[in-house]
């Protein structure tokens, strides 16, 4: 899809009709309390819409409807090929409405229209399509056995799942979770982030249009305490998949323990290292990767490479090239397709990121922030112990740490509470493989920055999360449970005792 002009995007934005109600049991409804909250365009500070502020009673109602749907099998027991057809139809409807979704996403989150059009929306569609295509190609197992029995190991949908989303990739994170959950046959109660609810609500409507039965996908906008916690504590939700901050993620473990011991899958924070060794080839390319890793999506990315661990011998050279590349990450109106960095998601988050900028002793590049926009910023830190090197900033701030050896680099890289992603730049194959094995992170990339793609699992070590993986065939596991079906085939005569 070719990009439009800024004027054209603004015209589309002006004509958008925002969905603002909760989507429960196949229809839009206000919150039971009648309460709403203001959805703000972070790039302008203006209100986009008043969105239904759901609460515990809405969660309860949605779970009842989701359970009804699950138990009567309108989706959970549908033939896998039929589930596939519905999800493929959803992808077609999303493609038809891609532009509307992209503009809505940009307005709601501050993300650039460039990213929304070229990454978020197409990858969302691709993700749903991939899982849809997978549904009728996963086989169960039969155990090795004697003639006297047969044992089948089958996977069944886990039931009603609560999906709690972050605000940084509203559509894409929704797809990461609903695609395997729906493919598996689960019913979903989904809480989008309060900051970014609009596209999730629209997607629910499109799913209904595609033929997803009532009650199977419910979207409840609202706050963490009002919706997230009741989901975590609900006695009739079988599992929760959460993506967001480590602090909130840990709370879900508590809710689970205090309620029905529901399964919890957590994808949480990261403070991801990008190690550049003195033998790295083509520093210009390395710089491009590092900059992309640090500043893509305004650094609002849990797998952002926010720590540059660089060998002292190439540091000056690399920083010069990084500065050159970082200059190209211009900041401005997200609806301008020439802009690479839009607004941070909210005023509160902007303030938080600005707080970190104030802590920086030595700013190598950038450092400017105004009206919700923060420039790509590179700061030098004295070591790995300061807040800028340890805490997840979730903004366009790259902290540079200098090291003198490969072993030191790995040590510093692993010296973090997190373990989501890491990248290593070296031309030495032995070092590359050793490093990849030694780095304690869910995804390690060599000579590049990335998260893999839909075919590879995504998730973290340590406090970056556990319990399952998004993406790939493994994503299905968390929305299913194993069942053994043991069948005795023994002939009565063999069993007879003489």
């Amino acid at each position: 899809m070719s990009l439009l002009t800024k004027d054209e995007y603004q015209a589309i934005a002006a004509g958008l009709d925002f969905p603002t109600m909760a989507y429960i049991d196949g229809r839009y409804r206000p919150a039971t309390s009648g309460k709403t909250f203001s959805s703000i365009n972070p790039a302008t500070g203006k209100e986009l819409a008043q969105v239904a502020a759901c609460g515990a009673e809405d969660v309860d109602f949605a779970v009842t409807k989701a359970r009804e749907a699950f138990e009567d099998g309108r989706w959970s027991r549908l033939h896998p090929s039929d589930r596939k057809d519905v999800l493929i139809r959803l992808c077609k409807l999303m493609t038809r409405n891609a532009r509307e979704l992209a503009v809505m996403e940009s307005l709601d989150s501050g993300k650039t229209i460039y990213d929304c059009e070229t990454v978020d929306v197409p990858e969302t569609i691709h993700c749903i399509k991939w899982h849809a295509e997978l549904i009728d190609k996963i086989y169960d197992q039969v155990s090795p056995a004697s003639d006297d029995h047969i044992a089948m190991i089958v996977r069944e949908p886990i039931g009603v799942v609560g999906l709690v989303l972050p605000w940084n990739f509203p559509l894409l994170m929704m797809a990461w979770k609903i695609a395997p959950a729906l493919a598996a046959g689960c019913s979903v109660v989904l809480k989008p982030a309060e900051e970014t609810s609009l596209t999730a609500l629209r997607l629910a409507e499109l799913a209904a249009e595609a033929g997803l039965p009532r009650g199977v996908l419910n979207v409840l906008p609202g706050g963490g305490v009002d919706v997230g916690e009741p989901i975590g504590r609900h006695m009739d939700i079988d599992m929760v998949s959460f993506t967001g901050s480590t602090v909130t993620g840990k709370r879900f473990l508590g809710y689970s323990g205090e309620s029905n011991a529901k399964e919890i899958v957590l994808e949480m924070g990261g403070k991801n290292p990008a190690i550049v060794m003195d033998d790295a080839e083509n520093l210009d390319r390395v710089a491009a990767h590092v900059v992309n890793g640090a500043f893509w999506n305004m650094g609002e990315n849990c797998s952002a490479s926010s720590r540059l661990i660089v060998h002292k011998d190439i540091k000056a050279d690399l920083l010069e090239r990084i500065t050159h590349h970082a200059k190209q990450w211009n900041v401005g109106d997200p609806l301008d397709p020439e802009i690479r960095m839009g607004a941070l998601v909210s005023k509160a988050h902007y303030k938080k990121v600005c707080g970190y900028l104030e802590q920086a002793d030595k700013i190598i590049f950038g450092g400017k922030a105004e009206n919700g926009f923060v420039k790509a910023t590179v700061v030098e830190v004295a070591g790995n112990d300061v807040a800028l090197a340890r805490e997840e900033i979730f903004g366009p701030v790259l902290s540079v740490i200098t090291v003198s050896s490969f072993d030191e680099a790995i040590r510093v890289a692993n010296d973090t509470d997190y373990g989501l992603a890491a990248s290593l730049f070296t031309a030495n194959a032995k070092r590359a493989i050793r490093g990849a094995r030694m780095l304690r992170a869910g995804t390690v990339t060599i000579n590049s920055f990335g998260e893999g793609d839909i075919t590879t699992p995504f998730g973290g070590y340590k406090q970056s999360g556990f319990g399952g993986r998004d993406n790939s065939i493994h994503a299905h596991d968390q929305y299913t449970q194993l069942k053994t079906i043991w069948i005795d085939l023994a002939d009565d005569e063999d069993e007879a005792v003489d």
């Binding site: 009709d17 109600m21 049991d25 229809r27 839009y28 409804r29 206000p30 239904a52 409507e205």
Partner: protein, 307 residues
Amino acid sequence: MTPIFKFDGIYTPVVTPFADDCSVRWDALEEVIDWLIAQGVHGLISGGSTGENFAQTVAERIEIAQFTVEKAKGRVPVVIGTGAMLTGDSIALARAARDMGADAILLASPPYSVPTDRENALNALAIDKAADLPIMLYNYPHRTGTMMGEEFLDRVGRSRNFCGIKESSGDINRVHLLARDYPHIQLGCGMDDQALEFFAWGAPFWVCGGSNFLPAEHVALYEACVIENDFVQGRRIMSALLPLMSVFEQGGKFIQTIKHGVTLNGIDCSVVRPPLKPLNKDDKRALEQVVRVLKETISDIRAEGTK
């Protein structure tokens, strides 16, 4: 569910008194409005079909609505009917309702074109956008040719303004559907002979043409069922009202009957606009008889409660 606007009680779709040349008799309209409010109805609807909207131009309808809002002086909520053949006309009426400070709009399906649920919902959302006021939907498939089906109701849910529905299909299954599956849309009786059933299912309001001349009797049923939750008394009152409903629905002369009822109360409303003609002598006599009996009966039933 907490709706953005509560339609509680008896909403009267106000008749439009005409002079012999069919021009609006403003003094009589003012008299009707004042009398209805004094008699305790809970809201007024201007420009409904009982007000003969089908025989009025958009400009006239706006003028009558404006007059009604001004004369009501905020004493009771005023709902403005926007039902029209052309979407443009409905939008003009909706905008005017917003500008004149109306409390809500009444939104019907456009008659004759028989839109699909999807078309009808998009039409409704466009009208909603123009007014941005609370909306009482008006489902009257016998008049419009199209039912506000589940797809329609699901789609209009995009806007929280859709917070009430005057259900006039006569299909009791619709009452069950609306009460159970659409609790966020307040259910209102629009089918007079089913008022008791609506109240039993929790409907908080009743839009009744008959309240133009029998407001106290309609309020009595509402109070018995909704306020006092006394369905034994409610059934007796409803039973007394049913002969009136038969006169309304089976004679096929709904508006003329209502207008004659208003005339019986001393405000001359006998003129109707073409193509309708006034009631004949027999119909008038039948109505008078029914009204006399039901007034006495309901008055007696209510008096029991005060002993």
